[in-house]
């Protein structure tokens, strides 16, 4: 039961992460390779504030969200001015920089040793202690993320995103400030990822840089690709499948390291197969190009 709840927490958080990425990758049609970096920034901001300064969960999470959103602008604004591949590369570089900083700025982050002892989240006096309560919180974050993304997607802003995804010159000709829209979408996406990261930190009570690597970004992207982009349920479906896949592999009774490798190989091949045979994903509204 406990383990089942743990899986629910994972599915909820990864669902939130995938949904947040979908705003940029699906609706705006620009894939990024940095979702894990923002996720990590939220986690570390929360961890540091909680452990070093005793800040409560929501306050730390808010700081994480703001930091992520602001940093996202530093990445998006210079690179979106150029062209799409510059943006992808910039997010890639940003991902590598964030990991490098988390891993090497030992005075602040304790580097590879990580930050232990993060307290369970407290919201207005209520402490979420049991896995069940944390699953509720995670579900709450998932619902909030889905709400934000779906409201934005359904709004005129969302329509502009999809317009610039299909043909940016036309959108610009219609007078839309496409740079601002893309940068805004990216900032929202970053903030939501950071929020999920904050809960992760308080859930696991320990963070280290290795949970926020480039491969983690690829994993989150895979969830969007598998489940389907620019759709309400796609990212969540993708998240659920990719969280549960390792569990299925576990039943084969392999060693931990071998299972981890096989899981990754499966992800990789899945990406290749999806791109070849079903770029729309399982439930996507947008076919990746």
């Amino acid at each position: 039961m406990e383990y089942g709840l743990h899986l629910l927490v994972l599915i909820a958080l990864y669902g939130a992460l995938a949904t947040s990425l979908d705003l940029v990758a699906g609706h705006a049609g620009r894939i990024t390779l940095s979702q894990a970096a923002f996720y990590g920034l939220g986690a570390y901001a929360s961890a540091l504030l909680a452990v070093r300064a005793g800040w409560p969960f929501l306050a730390g999470a808010l700081v994480g969200v703001i930091v992520a959103a602001v940093l996202s602008l530093c990445v998006s604004i210079p690179s979106l001015r150029l062209r799409d591949d510059a943006f992808v590369l910039a997010t890639f570089a940003f991902q590598m920089i964030v990991f490098s900083v988390l891993n090497n700025w030992t005075e602040l982050t304790r580097g590879p040793l990580g930050i232990p002892g993060i307290p369970r989240p407290r919201i207005l006096g209520w402490r979420a202690d049991s896995t069940g309560e944390l699953a509720l919180l995670a579900a709450g974050i998932l619902i909030l993320t889905r709400l934000v993304v779906s409201r934005l997607a359904g709004s005129p802003f969302g329509r502009v995103l999809r317009a610039l995804r299909e043909n940016e010159s036309w959108a610009q000709a219609l007078g839309k400030d496409t740079l601002r829209c893309k940068a805004s979408a990216f900032a929202v996406s970053a903030g939501l990822a950071a929020l999920a990261g904050s809960l992760w930190a308080h859930y696991v009570t320990y963070v280290d840089p290795f949970g926020f690597t480039f491969m983690e970004s690829v994993l989150i992207l895979s969830m969007v690709v598998l489940g389907g982009a620019a759709s309400s349920w796609g990212p969540l479906i993708g998240a659920a499948m990719l969280v549960l896949l390792p569990e299925a592999l576990r039943l084969l009774g392999l060693s931990n390291a071998a299972a981890a490798n096989l899981r990754q190989i499966a992800y990789g091949l899945l990406l290749v197969l999806m791109m070849r045979f079903r770029p729309r994903g399982l439930a996507g509204r947008y076919e990746l190009r």
């Binding site: 150029l82 591949d85 570089a93 990789g268 070849r276 990746l288």
Partner: protein, 291 residues
């Protein structure tokens, strides 16, 4: 000081080799073949397995591994990329597919060989020779030599031969080249063979110099990507000065800052270039992937 310059030259040569392979595919086929990192690692491990596992002489192992890398690259083009080209897939699909291959290859190596650092060394650690007041090992001299020779060969291939001209034509405008009757698919295979062989050589040299890990290709690839962008999109020649610049920045950072910030300095250099001079050192601003 001389040691910094020499180290910069050596690491720059490695980046230049990796960048050359990656850039060949990028400029002619117009997408980010990140799986190249996987090919680099595979070549290194194959050479290691042949040399230390099967006991073959190093030169033979390296030769076989380079050839195998070339073949692997061709197989990827024929098996994965060509079907995507037929479907008129865009750059995003190519990138994601390539990522998938990279992840699969890397983890395949990790599964077979484990994650510990492997080494070619069987004897004592060699101190190296002194040159102009700095130290250099035999492997490092080989790196410089191989880089130089490879560059000259590629230059001759692209500028001097008919195949090279055709490759440049395809890179410039693939559709027009196809209409004019150039054998685009065969040229594609040739490009991948050349690029992957070069990558394989880079991987083997890296393995000899610092050892092997499953992530080595990916890490090398990142430097290669930086070097290609800094050098200028659409222009292979820019890779050489860019590689030297990156080598210098990295070594200087290692000298003045705590060494763990070396890679971060390079990434920051990339962002600075993207912001201020996106076309790179010798590049063309109008160059685009995909379309």
């Amino acid at each position: 000081m001389q040691q910094i310059l020499l180290n910069a030259l050596i690491s720059g040569s490695t980046y230049a080799l990796v960048g050359l392979g990656f850039g060949l595919v990028l400029f002619t086929r117009r997408f980010f073949h990140v799986a190249h990192g996987g090919v680099i690692s595979v070549a290194a491990y194959l050479c290691w397995a042949l040399a230390t596992g099967a006991g073959l002489p190093l030169a033979a192992s390296a030769g076989i591994a380079v050839l195998a890398a070339g073949l692997l690259g061709m197989a990827l083009d024929a098996g994965v990329y060509r079907p995507l080209r037929k479907k008129k897939a865009g750059p995003t699909i190519f990138l994601i597919s390539s990522l998938g291959i990279l992840v699969a290859l890397q983890n395949g190596l990790s599964l077979i060989f484990g994650d510990d650092v492997l080494s070619f060394r069987s004897g004592r650690i060699k101190i190296g020779v002194e040159v102009f007041g700095a130290r250099i090992t035999r492997v490092q001299i080989t790196i410089l030599a191989v880089a130089l020779v490879t560059w000259v060969l590629v230059w001759l291939l692209l500028r001097g031969t008919r195949a090279g001209r055709m490759i440049r034509a395809v890179g410039s405008d693939a559709e027009l080249a196809h209409i004019l009757g150039l054998p685009a698919e065969r040229l594609s295979l040739l490009v991948f063979f050349a690029a992957s062989s070069i990558g394989g050589a880079a991987g083997i040299l890296l393995g000899l110099d610092v050892g092997l890990t499953p992530m080595m290709g990916f890490q090398a690839l990142f430097m290669g990507v930086v070097v290609v962008i800094l050098g200028g999109m659409g222009n292979l020649a820019g890779i050489a000065p860019a590689a030297l610049l990156v080598g210098l920045v990295r070594e200087a950072a290692g000298w003045w800052l705590p060494t763990q910030w070396q890679d971060t300095s390079v990434f920051l250099l990339l962002i600075v270039f993207l912001a201020l001079r996106p076309q790179g050192i010798l590049g063309d601003v109008s160059w685009k992937t995909g379309e």
